[in-house]
């Protein structure tokens, strides 16, 4: 080993490859797969183009008043139910992490119950609450018949929002756990109370972990609102159904609803992208730390 000779290229040009013709590798499998898939796609497009779909009807009902009203209700319900879900999620996440055993137990029960029963069942429970509590109210202040109080909107909001809260609580809890305990200690050391620590230091950093799954849940909430059609909440799918019961254009109206769902979900996905970018500030190597680059220059 010790007296290994130095490597010598002799003659040097015997190792040159510059003058040789290069034949690139051909990926036959990729070509075959692409052709098969395009063929299948063309078949589906052809089938729909020649199927018994009156595309004119789709266009005609796309911006119909009832459809747009249903779309509005779907969006409003998504926003309200999600807002309620996130508020409850944060509340119950904090309770589930509380040293107070009662708060902890209540949070665990909430998560267990609302994650453990079907959403449809919960909606029906809220909608039929009048069967067990004919009247509701605060004694001496106000009282109302439950049937008047629990409209389809209220029942849907309670059903979707409270159910969502149980899932969001776990997401928020994971987000809070992801923030290093040193952050809380530093916040304490500058005299922050527990609530300020949470609001100013922990939650803004937890958002980075919380947003992707919550964005996912907002998107599924858009579609879950359709379940509320069973309790007469007139969201877009229910309104589409009402129309096709009258004119028998079932597929056309389902396509109208499907397109609108896709539009809403696409807009939301774009919004999520910008929200994620906002909360990623301060992350190592994040190009969005523009000011940082300036500071370096």
């Amino acid at each position: 080993m010790a007296d290994r000779p130095a490597t010598r290229l002799d003659p040097p040009n015997a190792y040159s490859i510059a003058h040789l013709k290069l034949v690139r590798r051909v990926f036959y499998g990729r070509w075959v797969a692409a052709i098969l898939i395009l063929a299948a796609f063309a078949f589906v497009v052809h089938a729909f183009a020649n199927g018994q779909i009156a595309w004119k009807v789709v266009g005609q009902f796309f911006a119909a008043k009832a459809i747009l009203a249903g779309l509005g209700n779907t969006i409003i319900m998504t926003l309200c139910a999600m807002a309620l879900g996130i508020a409850l999620g944060v509340l119950f996440a904090v309770m589930a992490m509380s040293p107070n055993q009662v708060l902890y137990a209540v949070a665990q029960f909430y998560i267990w119950f609302f994650r453990g029963t079907p959403l449809l069942l919960q909606l029906l429970l809220w909608f039929n609450l009048a069967l067990i509590f004919p009247t509701m109210g605060i004694p001496g202040l106000f009282e109302a018949r439950t049937v008047d109080l629990i409209s389809p909107f209220v029942a849907t909001l309670l059903g979707l929002g409270i159910n969502q809260g149980a899932y969001t609580a776990e997401v928020v809890r994971a987000g809070i756990l992801s923030v290093d305990s040193g952050q809380t200690e530093a916040a304490k050391a500058i005299g922050m109370t527990r609530l300020t620590q949470l609001r100013r230091i922990v939650l803004p950093q937890a958002m980075r972990v919380i947003i992707p799954p919550v964005g996912n849940e907002v998107i599924s909430m858009v579609k879950l609102t359709s379940v509320a059609s069973v309790i007469q909440y007139s969201e877009i799918l229910r309104n589409a159904q009402t129309i096709y019961y009258a004119n028998a254009r079932v597929m056309e109206l389902l396509i109208v609803a499907a397109i609108w769902y896709l539009v809403v979900v696409t807009v939301l996905s774009i919004g999520q992208h910008f929200l994620e970018r906002h909360f990623a500030r301060g992350q190592r190597g994040n190009p969005a730390n523009r000011e940082t680059a300036e500071a370096r220059a």
């Binding site: 200690e185 050391a189 005299g191 992350q283 940082t292």
Partner: protein, 254 residues
């Protein structure tokens, strides 16, 4: 003049482990006290008891005459609320081994967070002071940088500025240079040296014996949750009396 910190028979247990077996110390205003000792000796725990990141199980600590964690009402001691403990913590500034800068805020944002959101000072005034503090620690041009884009030494200097922005009476340093690359230790020690010369009362838990010898008025050697030896840097670090002090210093210097 009352001392800045008085600790009497402070005991702290974690489960069955006793981290502090009964610490009694007094630190005068303007004094720089360095606490040295092997890891696990309770130095950091003692420091954390002073600003109530840990609650002492027995004994008592006064900071500038205020009893930590309690209010005396005649013959009874009333435990303070979260809010009142938070207010007591404002008396001391804390610098951590791992910096603990708020990762989602810029250097400037870290410094004005406390003045604006805890002390409710006007944002403009807090910002002007923060810029002056950044200048003082030599990082004026890094005000808009996020912690992740700063070196360890720079982060620690921002952390010192963040603590100073609260205008504390006392500064607590918990091994401020232990997590730094060797070439970055000097810049942080320089900031601390300047701070000591400005008359700030400081308690510094450190392994930097050179710094302790140069800057400290007094050095305390702790081991196994107790103060073993206390005195001038010369007495404790150069002519230690106790064999455990001698062993420790020999081990650190070798």
């Amino acid at each position: 003049m009352i001392p800045m910190v008085v600790a009497v028979d402070v005991v702290k247990r974690f489960g069955s482990f006793t981290a502090l077996t009964g610490i009694s110390l007094a630190i005068d205003k303007g004094e720089v006290l360095c606490v040295v000792g092997p890891s696990g000796s309770g130095k950091s725990t003692f420091l954390r008891c002073i600003n109530q990141l840990e609650r002492a199980d027995e004994g008592a600590i006064w900071v500038d005459g205020d009893l930590c964690g309690f209010r005396q009402k005649g013959e009874v001691l009333v435990e303070l609320s979260d809010h009142e403990v938070a207010r007591q913590r404002l008396q001391s500034g804390m610098v951590f081994q791992r910096f603990n800068l708020f990762a989602h805020l810029t250097a400037l944002g870290n410094i004005i967070e406390g003045p604006v959101n805890v002390q409710k000072r006007p944002r403009d005034a807090a910002t002007a002071e923060a810029i002056a503090l950044l200048d003082r620690v030599g990082l004026a041009e890094k005000r808009n940088a996020y912690p992740a884009d700063l070196s360890g030494g720079q982060q620690q200097r921002v952390a010192i500025a963040r603590a100073l922005a609260m205008k504390p009476k006392l500064m607590l340093f918990d091994e401020p240079t232990s997590a730094l690359d060797p070439e970055l230790v000097g810049e942080v020690l320089q900031v601390m040296r300047d701070l000591a010369h400005s008359g700030m009362t400081m308690i510094v838990v450190t392994h930097e014996l050179g710094f302790a010898r140069e800057v400290a008025n007094r050095v305390v050697f702790m081991d196994r949750g107790a103060v073993v030896e206390s005195g001038s840097p010369q007495d404790v670090l150069v002519n230690p009396q106790h064999p455990r002090t001698r062993d420790f210093i020999a081990a650190v210097l070798s």
